[in-house]
């Protein structure tokens, strides 16, 4: 597989058309009429896929929050989900580590494959899932304990053997926080600044040695300088972890992500309900320079959202 091969051939394009189904009394979630542009380049066929989302949909009680999401997330890449508020990007990412299980009224339809295994299979243990797929949240949420204990909590809970001091130090190094806290590991984590707390949360996540790191708008509560530091950190972390990030900041996606998915809110004419749906998913350069859907173009040029 060489670079020349990709340049010579025109990329194969897959279009998927979803038919309209009037929301009936059936089991499945009604799908929304939509043309989803999912382009895969031939080289991608051989790249390892971490997640394969197939017609993923989520409803909370009677409300269909997001529907018909089909896309792949690739190994050791940064994949960004962008879109206006309400488009369901946080809902989608929370499906990837089964955090939606915590909401009693949530029901997940369609499928998610993790390295070929069904993430929602009957024998799958959500606790095990979360050991492999970690998450960093929008608002930094360190535990009310010392910095050391924050990072050590995960390994201790999971039962990782080894020198805890080393594990903590390594995680803090990888999260680019070690130099700032090495002299005050016993201090309460709440004494750190917002940016530091978020990096602590990243260190905490790394300490359990996950395969994937999910980030739900990790920088929205932070100032621009902390944001930049975390973006640099993400690019470093990509070498070891697959990263999926939800962001409402398009420029952030453009700067950091290898691939980007654009979701939007679709209104149902009949019922007036608003549901999130995937519009376009492609390499980042393509999404931002040559999107194939008009809605994508409207969003990235600021015409709406």
């Amino acid at each position: 597989m060489t670079e020349e091969a990709t340049k010579e051939r025109r990329p194969a394009v897959e279009h998927s058309d979803h038919a309209v189904e009037d929301g009936g009394a059936g089991e499945g979630h009604p799908t929304i009429s939509l043309r989803t542009e999912v382009r895969q380049h031939e080289t991608d066929e051989l790249r390892e896929k971490v997640f394969e989302l197939k017609e993923l949909s989520v409803s909370y009680g009677d409300t269909l929050a997001v529907s018909g999401v089909t896309m792949d997330i690739f190994h050791r890449e940064i994949t960004a989900l962008i879109g206006p508020s309400g488009c369901g990007k946080s809902t989608v990412i929370r499906c990837l580590n089964r955090m939606n299980d915590l909401i009693p009224s949530a029901r997940v339809g369609g499928g998610v494959l993790y390295h070929g295994q069904d993430l929602y299979g009957s024998k799958v243990d959500p606790v095990q899932v979360r050991k492999l797929i970690g998450m960093v949240f929008q608002k930094p949420n360190p535990f009310p304990k010392s910095i050391y204990d924050n990072v050590a909590f995960g390994p201790r809970a999971i039962g990782i053997k080894g020198n805890m001091d080393e594990i903590v130090e390594r995680a803090l190094h990888r999260a680019a926080l070690w130099d700032e806290v090495k002299d005050r590991l016993k201090d309460n984590a709440y004494g750190l600044s917002g940016g530091q707390q978020q990096r602590l949360c990243i260190a905490r996540c790394i300490a359990v040695d996950p395969d994937v790191i999910l980030m739900d708008e990790p920088c929205s509560a932070l100032d621009p300088i902390s944001t930049a530091r975390i973006e640099d950190l993400m690019l470093e972390l990509k070498e070891q972890y697959s990263i999926v990030i939800v962001t409402h900041n398009m420029q952030q996606a453009a700067r950091t992500a290898d691939r980007t998915a654009f979701l939007t809110v679709v209104s149902d004419e009949f019922s007036g309900s608003r549901t999130g749906a995937l519009v376009e998913f492609d390499r980042t350069e393509t999404i931002f320079s040559n999107p194939s859907d008009q809605r994508t173009e409207n969003y990235i040029t600021g015409r709406f959202g």
């Binding site: 580590n97 955090m99 915590l102 009693p104 606790v127 095990q128 979360r130 050991k131 492999l132 970690g134 998450m135 949240f137 608002k139 949420n141 360190p142 535990f143 009310p144 909590f153 995960g154 809970a157 999971i158 949360c201 905490r204 996540c205 359990v208």
Partner: protein, 313 residues
Amino acid sequence: MAAPETTPGAARTQLAVAGARAATEGMFTASSRDRARGAVFLALLLFGLAIALTGLAAIFVWTLVRAWPRLDLDLITNGPSTLRPETAGFHTAILGSAYIIAGVIALIVPLGVGAAVYLEEYADNTRWWNRLIELNIQNLAAVPSIVFGILGLGFIVRGPISIGFVPAAASLTIALLVLPTVILAAREAIRAVPPSIREGALALGATPWQAISRQVLPAAAPGILTGVILAVSRAIGEAAPLLLVGAVTFATFDPSYFESGYTTLPTLVFNYATRPQEELRTLAAAGAILMLAFVLVMNSFAIWLRNRFEQRW
């Protein structure tokens, strides 16, 4: 004023209209008359409050004064006696109460915290059995304490459990009595821990119990402890149930958990109070001071705890 019958929005509007009407009615009366009325009103309010606070003070002051002649060390070291009331004390009663309270604490902490954790962390509110559990706890909190005494008499001392008129039976009875208070306090403390802490722990691959036991409960501990202290403070003064489960004997021997013939501070005070001799009545007041002192110390401790460890999330 019409009672709010429809939606909350309509209720608010009705109240707002009533308020406006009430306000405008007073708009054109003489202001000096209004000020006089206002002053009288405030005086009445303060008078009512003063009655309550004076009553509170009177109880403390009178009991202290009445008990004064007997506030000596014999009170704590000597056992009860009617033959020599001048030197009689509460020793066996203090021990009896202490044993019972220790038993109560040993029961209410695991059972109360356990029930609170279940209701807050595991229970799905739509299931009927969980709502039944909550309804029961609410009801039990309002059942008179003497009914718990009946439960103790009919069920624990006799009946199915049948351990006899022993301190262990009293511990169990009183534990059941104060359990709703502990459950309520523990639930509030657990609820105050932000969901982000729980989510953060779970997202790292911790099991639900690990997240609860290693993060949520430690964070809720001060609130839970405060609840337990307040429950204990209440338990020490509960005489009515104790009357029914065998704590009235004039015990001169030190107590033991499964031997009958024990007495407690509140029941002994009650016993002394009903006797005609002056010295025994003074003794009763002295016993009351012991209980008041204990309650004061416990409540102050709880307040201090709450202030010291109040976590601002």
